[in-house]
């Protein structure tokens, strides 16, 4: 091999090794589930410090939404299948906010409630006309609403 | 004619943003070409004038 | 003939030692003084003293009129075009030639909008010389004006010096091999020598 070839081969080898390692490391850490939010179970298990702000994520529990008589305040519960956390929020909810929907809320734990100052709705990747959805509902394939 | 949509303002703004940006992509090269050609024509005119003066 | 620059027993020290022997130097209008001497003897130092950049340690220096100094460093901003570099210079003192003329005079016609950084070594020196033309200054201090110039460039320098002397200006220049090819009557030569090392007694 000529020196230039050798040099090129070295560079390519280094590139492959570098990119390979980077990908491997990335994939391994990705498997550890990067948390964009904290689930209700974690909240209850881990005893977060009271002044700590964090994101709470989960599904809105059916029949838990209560609007205040006046003002924008709402209360609802968020669950991850295992545990539930009550949430209070004072502000405008996103349109996708509904029972069974996946949401992420920013705020603090106070007095056993999560005081949110922002509520975001997550939605899924399914797109279909309402009629199709109704038909699906009838046959028992509920594909909508949250993750 | 114009469909009644929920979230109409968001939809229409999105579509117009698309329209405006695409139109800009169409117009900008035209403007630039016109400028380029104009400047080249001017240079050419100067050269011709110089040649005429020489004769 | 008037006096443009007077010095008496001028001295400058570095590391506690005089750089060259104490110097008397008077520049008359219409005359050029050619400084020669080996590398490191202090030609540049002397010119910078005369320009007022350095302050003499002993002796005195008097200026009569404005001074222009073109040194080893080109004093050109690489980010500015040739024209912009000159425009700045023009505003600093009483204006001389206009910029296009000055550029043409030093052989840089057509390069006015090239950034300073993209000039060749000789072109940079030429731009440095053009700085002399856009301002009216009676006294020119030139440090190796012939360095890096081709034959045509060297003749330009000779012409510029000749015209400047005709106009009643004065020139002090440092040079090595090439001496100015102007009327030899108008040239004075000063050869600098290393000052003897002085011992503290």
């Amino acid at each position: 091999m000529t020196p230039t070839r050798k040099k090129r081969a070295l560079i390519v080898a280094a590139l492959v090794a570098g990119i390979g390692t980077a990908t491997a490391v990335a994939v391994v850490s990705m498997n550890e589930n990067m948390m964009f939010f904290i689930s209700p179970s974690d909240v209850l298990n881990e005893e977060l410090p009271p002044d700590r702000q964090f994101r709470l994520g989960g599904l809105v529990v059916d029949d838990s939404i209560k609007h205040a008589d006046e003002g924008l305040q709402v209360q609802f519960s968020v669950s991850d299948g295992g545990h539930q956390v009550p949430v209070v929020f004072n502000g405008i909810l996103p349109d996708l906010f509904r029972e069974g929907q996946g949401i992420v809320a920013h705020g603090y734990m106070r007095n056993g409630r999560f005081e949110a100052h922002e509520v975001l709705a997550k939605h899924d990747e399914n797109y279909m006309p309402p009629e199709v959805q109704k038909a699906l509902d009838k046959t028992g394939h509920n594909s909508g609403a949250g993750q | 004619m114009i469909p009644e949509l929920s979230h109409a303002s968001y939809v229409w703004t999105s579509y117009s943003v698309f329209g405006v940006i695409v139109a800009w992509q169409f117009i900008q090269p035209l403007i630039r070409r016109k400028r380029l050609v104009d400047s080249m024509l001017e240079a050419e005119a100067e050269r011709r004038a110089a040649r005429r003066n020489q004769q | 003939m008037s006096l443009l620059l007077e010095t008496s027993r001028l001295e400058f020290h570095r590391y506690g030692q005089p750089v060259f022997r104490p110097l008397e130097l008077d520049l008359q209008s219409g005359r050029a003084i050619v400084l020669t001497g080996p590398n490191g003897v202090g030609k540049t130092t002397l010119l910078r003293l005369l320009a007022g950049i350095l302050a003499p340690v002993r002796g005195s220096l008097k200026h009569h009129g404005e001074i222009a100094f073109v040194g080893h460093l080109p004093a050109i901003k690489g980010d500015l075009t040739c024209r912009e570099n000159l425009a700045y210079e023009r505003h600093v003192g009483p204006p001389g030639l206009d910029m296009a003329e000055a550029l043409a005079r030093v052989g840089l016609a057509g390069l006015g909008s090239r950034p300073g950084r993209a000039l060749s070594a000789g072109q940079k020196r030429r731009l440095g010389l053009a700085r002399l033309l856009v301002r009216e200054t009676p006294t020119w201090l030139l440090d190796e004006p012939y360095a890096s110039l081709d034959d045509a460039g060297c003749s330009v320098v000779d012409e510029l010096i000749g015209e400047h002397l005709d106009d009643g200006g004065g020139v002090v220049l440092a040079t090595h091999q090439r001496h100015p090819r102007v009327d030899a009557q108008r040239l004075d030569n000063i050869t600098l020598e290393f000052a003897p090392v002085r011992d503290a007694s």
């Binding site: 702000q53 964090f54 920013h106 100052h117 922002e118 | - | 570095r14 910078r48 320009a51 007022g52 950049i53 350095l54 302050a55 200026h63 404005e66 001074i67 222009a68 100094f69 040194g71 080893h72 460093l73 080109p74 004093a75 050109i76 901003k77 690489g78 980010d79 500015l80 912009e84 700045y88 505003h91 600093v92 003192g93 009483p94």
Partner: protein
Amino acid sequence: MIESRTHAAAALFRRDMKLAFRRLGESLLPLFFLFTVIVLIPLGVGPGPNLLSRMAPGMVWVAALLASLLALEHLFRPDLEDGTLEQWFVGERAVYARVMARLLSHWLVTGLPVIVFSPLAAEMLNLPRHALGTLIVSLVIGTPALSLLGGLAASLTLSTRGASVLLSILIFPLIVPLVIFATGAVSMAADSLDPGAHLGLLAAFTILSLTLAPIGIAAALRMNLE
């Protein structure tokens, strides 16, 4: 005589501004930084409004300080290296005027943008509205002092002689009290207290540096050319 001096200084100032635009990236670095701070800090801290508002004066002033420091490197060194600095002293014309012009352009690219963007920053960082005035006043009074003192430090560090390095290291701590007065004033205003005393001290500080710094800078520059 005086006229030619102002001409020279004005020409220098115009050229400096032209160069600043040519090197826009470097000139914008401080602003970019202010922006990053304003974006990143809430990210790290979370948007709790109370917390942010307490930090606001500090953050804005840190940005101003940073902008000033970042540009110090360019204040005299490029001119020293390409030979334009020695031209300032040829015939000794207009050295103070040029120093002042240079400092003015330094302030215009570092101090002014921070002042202009401070209302935005204050808003994003939730500074109480009634404290905004004090913030701006503190910046207007204080940032010139940053330029002046920074310029002194920069002219001293041009040379590598041990003594000047030491001196420049001594100057930086001088800047800290300045910033402390300034943020103190804004915090007081935010708490609806009278920031007058703090601002007065700040002004005294600035006036003092306005008188002393240019002389020091001119001397230090000349020393470096030897």
